[in-house]
Amino acid sequence: MIFEASDLSREVDTLFLAIIFVCGIVFFGIVAAMLYLSLKYKKDKLIDRSSPPLKNLKLELSWTLPTLLIFLIFFVWGAQLYRNSHEDQAVSQEIFVTGKQWMWKFQHPGGQKEIDELHLPVGEPVKLIMISEDVIHSFFLPDFRIKQDLLPGRYTKLIFTPNKTGTFRIYCSQYCGARHSYMLGKVIIQSKIEFDSWRESRPVWSSGSQNLNAGQKVFTKYGCNACHSIRPKDVLDENLSGPTLWNLYQSKVTLHDGKVITADENYIRESIFHPNAKVVKGFSPQMPTFEGLIPEEEMQALQTYMKSLRAGYP
């Protein structure tokens, strides 16, 4: 049974049916023409066969150009829908998803963790920030008509807004080894009230009371504060050797080679694991790598903490 559990689902289905409809007409046109012509000009039929045409530019154009036009309409329609549904936006529900052979791990902003089950409130946009701990997986929500691969070593994102309560399927759709077909899960969409009471009832597994606090602890555990300030540049800390992390997330960062990049989750992750890959302008490459030292869960807490370092948080 497949559901339309988001507005996008309905829009995708409409487009799908529209294309099926047009393709159906074309296909039956081709079948009809083939049957009609091959029976009409069957060998034993007495019929005028004089001077069969060999070419006809107008005819060629008359079937090529409409074909091209229809293709372009499909393209624009599909691309538009894709762009709208993939636009990065700030959302309140930011959830970390970790895929590993063969399970799904979810971490809510409040630090609540789930395995193979994801609780979400209905009607609120949600952003999944996903990463794999081993091979490539793919997070597939058929009832929402979306999927996105999870890569090792890099975050990918998926944004959607459930519009129905209920329980929906999660599949891994990228072949990932022996138990690939057992890598399943459920996304449970609840009303806001039900969701809140579910959330209250969950123990927070992080060492702190919140993911944010956990991130703060990770920050000092690995000694990040020895070089990085967490306050605005003009406040203090001129003697620290690294750039300040205040207001870093989603800001424009100028690198030593003059390139300007946006500091997203992948940049933060890369700068911790491969500090020399992108060195900020005006700083020397002297930070040691933390690759292999910080487990993914602590990294995710750290990411949440980084995002909190700005005026007016939350």
Binding site: A33, P52, L54, N56
Partner: protein
């Protein structure tokens, strides 16, 4: 009368032959063998999928079965079948040449294929490989505990065979055309073989390189694709599909060529829109290199790349549409006989068109995100590969069977098999479109019970399909030895290959054939 078959019966004369026709027969036997190995794997997969639970084989075995099916079918059947069997046999005959430009290279190419096949077979005997035919990293390099190296070496060697064949055809078509046979008088089959050869020559080295990189990462641990070692897994996908998408056109282009030969013959009139069909083959060969990213819409590549590859994928469908329309127009004012090859050509047009139209659905970004890596994709490419390519190959094999053997096959059984195949195919693969849209992911050993009914229908289709494939195997084998002898040109077909005896003598033409005014001079 002496011909290429009865001039020498010794095994040595077969294994050391440089005659393109004999090499064609060697390929015919080897790709048939590969096809049946691949089919047994497919049969076991479908049998396992009769029920949602795991009952016939373990997950490990299941994963090895679909990998084996993919590897054997793609590299040892689909890619070599039409170019190496029919192409080998027909290219020199169709252009009035004595042989290919490099006859010994041609034999070497068959041995390469054989050695590659033996490596792959060794992998199978030792315990198989479980990466899928796509070898996605880092699974294939760091996680898979199976015979990855042996398999990629086998494919690498088979790739060398492809490159040599492509090179041989290109040089032959440029240099050995009989005087007066200009480019636009060539049969359209030659145009498609030319386009195919360009892809074989230009794309296969990229595959070879990629496979070597897998081997290097697996053996030495140098980080190329695995992020844990400092590599990039998407780099692998780009390299792999840069070959493997054009490879789809290696498989389907010659099939289109076969259909372009069969249609005018059994309509008994020249083909409609010769130049449009010829140029569209070249257009497909070129555009085919620019669409690989549509395999990566959900991989994490940039949104801009997604847009570019989406529109290019729509564009590559245009020349295919042009071909279909021109084939239909060829029926107009023809004199049509429904012989076996013609039935296959009709089946090709129907199934290939369905495959192409569902390809448009996959090129549409928002929809691909949903059906990517589901049974919808499986159904789509089997419509192109089996419904298109295998159907065309069988049509061509029937069409040129009298030319190759000097014997007829039983026409009645031929028709029965063609119709059986068509319906078997539709019953097998049509339900998979529905499965895919409903959300059934590919490469699943166990699945949700809600999908079972469609899986049962699909598996039943395989039984019909199996009958459809076994029939030609039986009656063509029978015909090779006992079939009634035929006249030189039983179809009253045009083209230089019909200007000589059937089967042809070793030197192809005893007297120089006369080049007609135009191609398909019916």
């Amino acid at each position: 009368m002496k011909n290429y078959l009865n001039c020498d019966f010794s095994l040595k004369s077969w294994f050391f032959t440089t005659d393109h026709k004999r090499i064609g027969i060697l390929y015919l036997i080897s790709v048939t063998l590969a096809f049946f190995i691949g089919s047994v794997a497919a049969g076991l997969i479908r049998l396992e999928l009769l029920t949602p639970a795991a009952d016939l084989v373990s997950s490990e075995t299941y994963n090895r079965l679909f990998t084996l099916h993919g590897v054997v079918m793609v590299w040892f059947f689909l890619i070599p079948a039409v170019p190496n069997v029919l192409g080998n046999f027909l290219v020199p005959l169709m252009i009035g040449a004595k042989d290919l430009a490099f006859p010994r290279l041609n034999l070497l190419s068959w041995y390469m294929y054989l050695v590659g096949g033996i490596f792959t077979f060794a992998m199978l005997v030792l315990g198989g490989v479980d990466t899928g035919w796509t070898f996605y990293t880092p699974y294939s390099t760091s996680y898979s505990n199976s015979y990855v190296i042996l398999t990629v070496v086998g494919i690498f060697i088979a790739g060398l065979s492809s490159i040599l064949t492509g090179l041989n055809f290109i040089v032959t078509i440029h240099r050995l055309r009989i005087k007066g046979l200009t480019w636009f008088k060539m049969p359209l089959f030659i145009w498609t073989i030319y386009g195919t050869s360009l892809i074989l020559l230009l794309a296969t080295p990229v595959l070879g390189m990629t496979l070597i990189l897998i081997g290097i990462e697996r053996v030495t641990g140098i980080g190329i694709f695995d992020p844990a070692l400092g590599g990039d897994p998407l780099l692998f996908q780009h390299l792999f599909w840069f070959y493997s998408h054009p490879a789809v056109y290696i498989m389907i282009l010659p099939g289109m060529g076969v259909v372009s030969e069969i249609l005018p013959c059994f309509s008994h009139r020249p083909i409609f829109g010769y130049k449009f069909i010829a140029y569209s083959s070249v257009a497909i060969a070129i555009l085919g290199f620019l669409v690989w990213g549509h395999h990566m819409f959900v991989s994490g590549q940039s949104a801009f790349a997604d847009l570019a590859f989406s529109i290019l994928s729509f564009l590559v469908a245009v020349p295919s549409a042009i071909k279909v329309f021109n084939w239909i127009a060829t029926l107009y004012k023809g004199s049509i006989t429904f012989s076996t090859p013609m039935l296959y050509a009709f089946a090709f047009i129907l199934l290939f068109t369905l495959g192409g139209l569902t390809g448009l659905i996959l090129a549409t970004l928002a929809i691909d995100v949903h059906v990517h890596d589901t049974y919808f994709v499986i159904a789509h490419f089997h419509f192109i590969m089996v419904g298109g390519m295998v159907t065309a190959y069988l049509g061509g094999l029937h069409f040129w069977w009298p030319k190759m053997t000097g014997r007829m096959y039983p026409e009645k059984w031929g028709k029965v098999a063609a119709v059986t195949l068509f319906f078997g195919f539709v019953v097998t693969f049509m339900p998979q479109f529905f499965l895919g849209f409903l959300g059934m992911p590919r490469r699943y050993h166990v699945y949700a019970p809600e999908f079972q009914i469609l899986h049962i229908i699909s598996t039943c289709g395989v039984l019909i399909l199996a009958v459809g494939f076994l029939l030609p195997l039986i009656y063509l084998t029978w015909s090779f030895r006992y079939g009634p002898g035929c006249i030189d040109n039983p179809w009253d077909a045009k083209g230089l290959e019909w200007e000589t005896t059937s089967p042809p003598p070793t030197e192809n033409f005893l007297t120089e054939p006369k080049v007609p005014e135009m191609a398909y001079d019916y």
